[in-house]
Amino acid sequence: MDTQELIKSQVTGNPVVLYMKGSPKFPQCGFSNLATQILNACNVEYVAIDVLADQNIREGIKGYANWPTIPQLYINGEFVGGSDIMRAMYESGELQTLLNATK
Protein backbone atom coordinates (compact mmCIF):
# COMPACT_ATOMS: atom_id res chain seq x y z
CA MET A 1 0.00 0.00 0.00
CA ASP A 2 1.47 3.37 -0.84
CA THR A 3 1.53 6.19 1.66
CA GLN A 4 -1.43 8.12 0.26
CA GLU A 5 -3.57 4.95 0.31
CA LEU A 6 -2.39 4.20 3.84
CA ILE A 7 -3.37 7.69 5.03
CA LYS A 8 -6.72 7.38 3.30
CA SER A 9 -7.39 4.09 5.06
CA GLN A 10 -6.41 5.63 8.40
CA VAL A 11 -8.66 8.69 8.11
CA THR A 12 -11.62 6.79 6.71
CA GLY A 13 -11.23 3.80 9.04
CA ASN A 14 -11.46 5.92 12.20
CA PRO A 15 -13.96 8.67 13.02
CA VAL A 16 -11.39 11.04 14.54
CA VAL A 17 -7.71 10.99 13.60
CA LEU A 18 -5.00 13.38 14.72
CA TYR A 19 -1.62 13.44 12.98
CA MET A 20 0.83 14.89 15.44
CA LYS A 21 4.45 15.08 16.53
CA GLY A 22 4.88 12.71 19.45
CA SER A 23 2.06 11.04 21.35
CA PRO A 24 -0.84 12.51 23.36
CA LYS A 25 1.10 11.64 26.55
CA PHE A 26 4.36 13.04 25.22
CA PRO A 27 3.72 15.64 22.52
CA GLN A 28 6.93 16.79 20.85
CA CYS A 29 5.69 20.19 19.71
CA GLY A 30 3.61 22.97 21.25
CA PHE A 31 1.07 22.94 18.43
CA SER A 32 0.57 19.18 18.70
CA ASN A 33 0.21 19.57 22.46
CA LEU A 34 -2.48 22.21 21.93
CA ALA A 35 -4.32 19.91 19.51
CA THR A 36 -4.40 17.04 22.03
CA GLN A 37 -5.60 19.37 24.78
CA ILE A 38 -8.44 20.59 22.62
CA LEU A 39 -9.54 17.03 21.78
CA ASN A 40 -9.30 16.05 25.45
CA ALA A 41 -11.43 19.06 26.38
CA CYS A 42 -14.01 17.86 23.84
CA ASN A 43 -14.05 14.51 25.62
CA VAL A 44 -13.72 12.48 22.45
CA GLU A 45 -11.86 9.29 21.63
CA TYR A 46 -9.40 9.69 18.82
CA VAL A 47 -6.61 7.89 17.05
CA ALA A 48 -3.28 9.72 17.28
CA ILE A 49 -0.65 9.03 14.66
CA ASP A 50 2.90 10.08 15.46
CA VAL A 51 4.44 11.41 12.25
CA LEU A 52 7.89 11.40 13.83
CA ALA A 53 7.69 7.60 13.89
CA ASP A 54 7.18 7.31 10.12
CA GLN A 55 9.02 9.55 7.67
CA ASN A 56 6.74 8.48 4.78
CA ILE A 57 3.65 9.59 6.66
CA ARG A 58 5.37 12.74 7.87
CA GLU A 59 5.95 13.85 4.27
CA GLY A 60 2.89 12.18 2.74
CA ILE A 61 0.40 13.83 5.07
CA LYS A 62 1.47 17.27 3.82
CA GLY A 63 0.39 16.36 0.31
CA TYR A 64 -2.74 14.46 1.30
CA ALA A 65 -4.77 17.55 2.23
CA ASN A 66 -2.42 20.11 0.66
CA TRP A 67 -1.49 21.27 4.15
CA PRO A 68 2.20 21.82 4.91
CA THR A 69 2.10 21.69 8.71
CA ILE A 70 1.40 19.29 11.57
CA PRO A 71 -0.83 18.70 13.55
CA GLN A 72 -3.72 17.85 11.24
CA LEU A 73 -7.18 16.77 12.36
CA TYR A 74 -9.50 14.54 10.32
CA ILE A 75 -13.12 13.85 11.20
CA ASN A 76 -15.00 11.18 9.25
CA GLY A 77 -12.29 11.20 6.62
CA GLU A 78 -12.49 14.96 6.07
CA PHE A 79 -9.58 17.28 6.77
CA VAL A 80 -10.73 19.77 9.43
CA GLY A 81 -7.63 21.89 9.97
CA GLY A 82 -4.45 22.51 11.89
CA SER A 83 -4.11 23.77 15.46
CA ASP A 84 -5.14 27.39 14.67
CA ILE A 85 -8.38 26.23 13.07
CA MET A 86 -8.97 23.64 15.79
CA ARG A 87 -8.68 26.39 18.40
CA ALA A 88 -11.01 28.74 16.50
CA MET A 89 -13.58 25.95 15.99
CA TYR A 90 -13.28 24.87 19.61
CA GLU A 91 -13.92 28.40 20.83
CA SER A 92 -16.95 28.79 18.56
CA GLY A 93 -18.36 25.39 19.60
CA GLU A 94 -18.27 24.16 16.02
CA LEU A 95 -15.66 21.51 16.78
CA GLN A 96 -17.72 19.98 19.58
CA THR A 97 -20.73 19.81 17.27
CA LEU A 98 -18.69 18.06 14.58
CA LEU A 99 -17.24 15.63 17.12
CA ASN A 100 -20.62 14.89 18.70
CA ALA A 101 -21.85 13.78 15.30
CA THR A 102 -19.22 11.01 15.28
CA LYS A 103 -20.33 9.46 18.57
Binding site: G30, F31, N66, W67, P68, V80, D84, I85
Partner: protein, 83 residues
Protein backbone atom coordinates in the same frame (compact mmCIF):
# COMPACT_ATOMS: atom_id res chain seq x y z
CA UNK B 1 17.78 34.80 9.87
CA UNK B 2 14.27 35.18 8.56
CA UNK B 3 12.55 38.23 10.00
CA UNK B 4 8.87 38.90 10.50
CA UNK B 5 9.16 41.77 7.98
CA UNK B 6 10.62 39.44 5.33
CA UNK B 7 7.82 36.99 5.95
CA UNK B 8 5.27 39.77 5.47
CA UNK B 9 6.96 40.65 2.19
CA UNK B 10 6.93 37.01 1.00
CA UNK B 11 3.20 36.75 1.66
CA UNK B 12 2.22 40.09 0.12
CA UNK B 13 4.27 39.34 -3.01
CA UNK B 14 1.89 36.52 -3.85
CA UNK B 15 -1.32 37.41 -2.05
CA UNK B 16 -3.18 40.72 -2.16
CA UNK B 17 -3.59 41.81 1.46
CA UNK B 18 -5.57 44.70 2.89
CA UNK B 19 -3.68 44.28 6.14
CA UNK B 20 -0.92 42.03 7.36
CA UNK B 21 1.01 41.78 10.58
CA UNK B 22 3.60 39.13 11.30
CA UNK B 23 5.23 38.78 14.70
CA UNK B 24 8.14 36.59 15.76
CA UNK B 25 11.80 37.26 16.38
CA UNK B 26 13.46 33.83 16.67
CA UNK B 27 13.69 33.23 12.92
CA UNK B 28 11.52 30.12 12.85
CA UNK B 29 8.32 30.69 14.85
CA UNK B 30 5.87 33.30 13.62
CA UNK B 31 2.37 34.55 14.24
CA UNK B 32 0.45 36.27 11.48
CA UNK B 33 -2.75 38.21 11.04
CA UNK B 34 -3.72 38.36 7.37
CA UNK B 35 -6.65 40.25 5.86
CA UNK B 36 -7.28 39.65 2.17
CA UNK B 37 -10.16 40.11 -0.26
CA UNK B 38 -9.09 36.73 -1.71
CA UNK B 39 -10.55 35.08 1.41
CA UNK B 40 -14.13 36.10 0.64
CA UNK B 41 -16.39 33.08 0.28
CA UNK B 42 -13.70 30.64 1.44
CA UNK B 43 -13.62 28.59 4.63
CA UNK B 44 -10.75 28.81 7.10
CA UNK B 45 -8.93 25.82 5.60
CA UNK B 46 -8.94 27.40 2.14
CA UNK B 47 -7.91 30.80 3.57
CA UNK B 48 -4.92 29.30 5.35
CA UNK B 49 -4.05 27.29 2.24
CA UNK B 50 -3.85 30.55 0.27
CA UNK B 51 -1.29 31.91 2.74
CA UNK B 52 0.68 28.66 2.66
CA UNK B 53 0.57 28.73 -1.15
CA UNK B 54 1.89 32.32 -1.15
CA UNK B 55 4.86 31.09 0.88
CA UNK B 56 5.39 28.04 -1.34
CA UNK B 57 8.61 26.11 -0.73
CA UNK B 58 9.64 28.50 2.04
CA UNK B 59 6.97 26.90 4.19
CA UNK B 60 8.85 23.58 3.99
CA UNK B 61 12.38 24.89 4.30
CA UNK B 62 12.71 28.10 6.30
CA UNK B 63 9.60 28.34 8.41
CA UNK B 64 9.17 25.87 11.22
CA UNK B 65 5.97 27.24 12.64
CA UNK B 66 3.46 29.78 11.44
CA UNK B 67 0.38 30.37 13.53
CA UNK B 68 -2.18 32.50 11.75
CA UNK B 69 -5.51 34.20 11.88
CA UNK B 70 -7.15 35.06 8.57
CA UNK B 71 -9.97 37.52 7.98
CA UNK B 72 -11.96 38.82 5.05
CA UNK B 73 -11.95 42.64 4.87
CA UNK B 74 -15.56 42.63 6.08
CA UNK B 75 -14.87 40.38 9.07
CA UNK B 76 -11.79 42.43 9.91
CA UNK B 77 -13.75 45.69 9.93
CA UNK B 78 -16.37 44.11 12.15
CA UNK B 79 -13.70 42.91 14.56
CA UNK B 80 -11.99 46.29 14.66
CA UNK B 81 -15.36 47.92 15.27
CA UNK B 82 -15.76 45.87 18.41
CA UNK B 83 -12.49 47.05 19.93
Amino acid sequence: MLSAQQLEAYITQNLACDYIKVLGDDGTHFEAVVVSPEFVGKNMVKQHQLVYAALGERMKAEIHALSMKTFTPEAWLKLKGND
